[in-house]
C-alpha cells in the first residue's frame, strides 16, 4: 500500500505538492483557531505557541522515541491540548482584551523557554528527520486536513458547538441557560490547541527544521489573518483564508517587501468594511442551500 502511494506522489509536481502541503497545514491551524476565536469568541493571539509545542513534541518523538507517525501526531496534539487546558483554566476568566494579551504573553514565554532549553536545542534549531510512516507525508497532511474540516463542521452543528457560539454572543445569557462557561471555554481552547499541535507536528516534518523563533507573534497573526479573511466562525471561510494566505507569498513574491504592509492594511480594511470576511459569516449548509436555489 505504502509503495503504491509513494509512486503516486512521485508523479506529482513537487512544487505543487509543497504548496498543497502548506495549504493543508494552514487549514488545520486555521480551523483550530477558528474554534477558539470564531466559534467561542475568545481572541487568542498566541496560537503559534501551541503549534510550537506540537512541533517540538512531534520532532522529539521522532528523534528520540521513533514513534510511528500517527501516534506521534496524536501525542503532539494531546500535549498541546493539555497545555491549552492548563493555561486556559486560569486565564479564560478574563475579559476579551486581557485574554488576548495574556495569550500573547504566554506565547512569548513559551518561545523564550524553548530558546533556552537544552532539549529543544536552544536557539540553534532542531533538525527533524523524516517521519516513521508508510504513508507519504503529503497524503497524511491531506487526510489530517480533511479530518479537521469534518470534525470542526460536526462540532459547529452540535449541542456543543451551539454552547460555544452562545458564549461568543452573550456569556451571561449563556450561563443563565445552564452553560458552564469556564468548562466550555477550556474545552474549546484545548481543541484549538490540539489542532495547532497536530499542525505543528506536520509542519516540523514537512519543513525538516524548526526553530522556536519560527513560532512568534507574527505566526499567530498569520493564522488569525486567515480566519478573519475567511470570516470568523465560517469553516469554508477558514479553508479559503488558509489557502489564500499560505499561497499569497508565492504569487506575490514581487511584492515581498510590501507583504506585511498589505497584511496590516488588509486587517484594518476588513474590520471596517467587511468584518464577516470573504464568506460573510455563512456556514456550509446555508451556502449549499443558496447554490441549489
Amino acid at each position: 500500500m505504502g509503495e503504491v502511494l509513494q509512486a503516486v506522489i512521485a508523479r506529482i509536481d513537487p512544487y505543487f505538492l509543497q504548496i498543497s502541503v502548506n495549504i493543508g497545514i494552514a487549514i488545520i491551524l486555521a480551523l483550530g483557531l477558528n474554534v477558539v476565536t470564531g466559534l467561542t469568541g475568545q481572541l487568542s493571539l498566541g496560537h503559534a505557541a501551541f503549534m510550537s509545542i506540537g512541533a517540538f513534541t512531534s520532532a522529539l518523538a521522532t528523534i528520540k522515541l521513533g514513534l510511528p507517525f500517527s501516534v506521534n501526531l496524536l501525542l503532539a496534539g494531546a500535549i498541546s491540548a493539555a497545555t491549552g487546558a492548563l493555561i486556559g483554566y486560569p486565564i479564560l476568566r478574563l475579559a476579551g482584551d486581557y485574554l488576548a494579551i495574556c495569550t500573547l504573553g504566554f506565547a512569548e514565554i513559551v518561545k523564550v523557554v524553548f530558546l533556552n532549553l537544552e532539549l529543544t536545542n536552544k536557539a540553534f534549531g532542531l533538525s527533524v528527520p523524516p517521519p516513521k510512516s508508510a504513508i507519504p507525508l503529503p497524503i497524511v497532511v491531506w487526510l489530517a486536513a480533511l479530518l479537521a474540516i469534518v470534525a470542526v463542521s460536526f462540532i459547529r452543528n452540535s449541542r456543543f458547538g451551539r454552547a460555544l457560539m452562545a458564549i461568543r454572543c452573550d456569556e451571561i445569557a449563556a450561563e443563565s441557560m445552564g452553560i458552564n462557561i469556564a468548562r466550555y471555554k477550556v474545552h474549546s481552547f484545548a481543541i484549538g490547541a490540539f489542532l495547532a499541535g497536530v499542525g505543528g507536528g506536520l509542519y516540523a516534518h514537512s519543513l525538516g527544521f524548526i526553530n522556536p523563533s519560527d513560532f512568534g507573534f507574527l505566526k499567530s497573526i498569520d493564522i488569525l489573518g486567515m480566519i478573519v479573511l475567511g470570516g470568523l466562525g465560517s469553516i469554508p471561510g477558514s479553508v479559503i483564508g488558509a489557502a489564500v494566505l499560505s499561497t499569497a507569498p508565492e504569487f506575490l513574491r514581487f511584492m515581498a517587501n510590501y507583504r506585511m504592509l498589505v497584511y496590516g492594511g488588509l486587517l484594518v480594511f476588513l474590520m471596517i468594511f467587511r468584518p464577516n470576511g470573504l464568506m460573510g459569516g455563512v456556514n456550509l449548509k446555508e451556502l449549499v442551500r443558496s447554490w441549489r436555489s
Binding site: 470534525a151 460536526f154 462540532i155 452543528n157 452540535s158 449541542r159 456543543f160 458547538g161 451551539r162 454552547a163 457560539m165 452562545a166 461568543r168 454572543c169 452573550d170 451571561i172 445569557a173 449563556a174 450561563e175 443563565s176 441557560m177 445552564g178 452553560i179 458552564n180 462557561i181 474545552h187 481543541i191 459569516g281
Partner: protein, 273 residues
C-alpha cells in the same frame, strides 16, 4: 408550598445596600410579581436568585435546597430560567438556535457527541431537542420564523423569543424581567394570555413589571420593594389599597387609574371588594 424562599437576604455593593433584609416566598404554581419604583432592587433580586451575585447575608432556597452562592449555570440546571430586562438574545444566531441553546440542559452530549454526529443516540438527542424547541416556538407563535436571524426580529418578537428560550429549559420557576416593556396594549394582552398558559403548563412564574394593569391582572401575589426593602406583600386588591405602596410610587395618595381608561381588559383579580 414555597418553591422559592428568600430569607433575610441582603446584598451590599461596597457602601451601597441594594437589597436589605428581604424575605420572599414564591408558592409553587403561582404567578408572583415583584414591583417597585426604579432602583428598588427588583433586578438585583433576580440576579441574586440566579446566582449572578451571591448575597452578603441571608438564605435563598429552591425546592428546599440552598442555592445561595451556587454558580449561575448550576442554578439554571436545577430548573430556574429567566428573561432579561434589556433583551439578551444570541443575536448572531437564528431563532431556532436561540431556543435550542435554551434546551441545552435537556441534553448531555458534548464534544464526544459532536464528533459522533451520526450515532443513533446522538441523533435521537438532537431530534428531541429540536422537537422541544419547535414546541416552545409554537407556544410563542414564532415557529414560522425559526430560520430567521434573531437579531432581525422586531422588538416584540424578540421578547417572545427570549421567553421561548427560557421555556426550552423546561423550568420549574420562570423569572420574567419586565417582559411587557415596550409593548403595545395588544401585545401586552397576548403576553398575559401566554403567561397564563405557561402557568397552566405547571411553571411557577416570578415577574418584575412596571405596567400595573399587567401586574394586577395576572398575579396571585405581589411583593413591593422600595429602596431595597420589602414594604408590602399581598394579593392585588390589598396592594392597590396599601397607602405605603401608593406613596412609594406616586409620592402622595393617588388612586391607580381605572382599567377602563386603558384598552386592556383586566382579568379576575381586578375586581376588588
Amino acid at each position: 408550598m414555597a418553591l422559592l424562599k428568600l430569607e433575610h437576604v441582603t446584598i451590599r455593593f461596597g457602601g451601597l445596600v441594594a437589597v436589605h433584609n428581604v424575605t420572599l416566598n414564591v408558592d409553587k404554581g403561582s404567578i408572583h410579581a415583584l414591583i417597585g419604583p426604579n432602583g428598588a432592587g427588583k433586578s438585583t433580586i433576580f440576579n441574586l436568585i440566579t446566582g449572578i451575585y451571591p448575597p452578603t447575608s441571608g438564605t435563598i432556597s429552591f425546592r428546599g435546597r440552598s442555592i445561595a452562592g451556587m454558580p449561575t449555570h448550576r442554578i439554571a440546571a436545577l430548573g430556574i430560567s429567566r428573561t432579561f430586562q434589556n433583551i439578551r438574545l444570541f443575536s448572531d444566531l437564528s431563532v431556532l438556535d436561540n431556543v435550542l441553546i435554551g434546551a441545552h440542559t435537556r441534553g448531555g452530549w458534548d464534544l464526544t457527541g459532536a464528533l459522533m454526529k451520526f450515532a443513533p443516540w446522538v441523533q435521537r438527542e438532537e431530534r428531541e431537542m429540536r422537537e422541544l424547541a419547535f414546541s416552545r416556538l409554537k407556544l410563542v407563535e414564532l415557529d414560522h420564523r425559526a430560520a430567521d436571524s434573531s437579531g432581525a426580529l422586531p422588538y416584540g418578537e424578540q421578547r417572545r423569543l427570549e421567553i421561548a428560550r427560557a421555556l426550552a429549559l423546561c423550568p420549574e420557576l420562570l423569572l420574567l424581567d419586565e417582559p411587557a416593556a415596550g409593548m403595545n396594549p395588544q401585545e401586552k394582552l397576548a403576553l398575559m394570555e401566554m403567561v397564563e398558559r405557561i402557568r397552566a403548563d405547571g411553571v411557577t412564574v416570578l415577574l418584575v413589571e412596571h405596567d400595573m394593569k399587567f401586574v394586577m391582572g395576572l398575579s396571585d401575589r405581589i411583593a413591593v420593594l422600595d429602596y431595597g426593602e420589602k414594604i408590602a406583600e399581598g394579593d392585588p386588591c390589598e396592594i392597590r389599597a396599601n397607602p405605603q405602596v401608593i406613596e412609594a410610587y406616586l409620592g402622595k395618595a393617588a388612586p391607580f387609574t381605572d382599567a377602563a381608561s386603558d384598552n386592556i381588559p383586566v382579568a379576575r383579580s381586578a375586581v376588588c371588594w
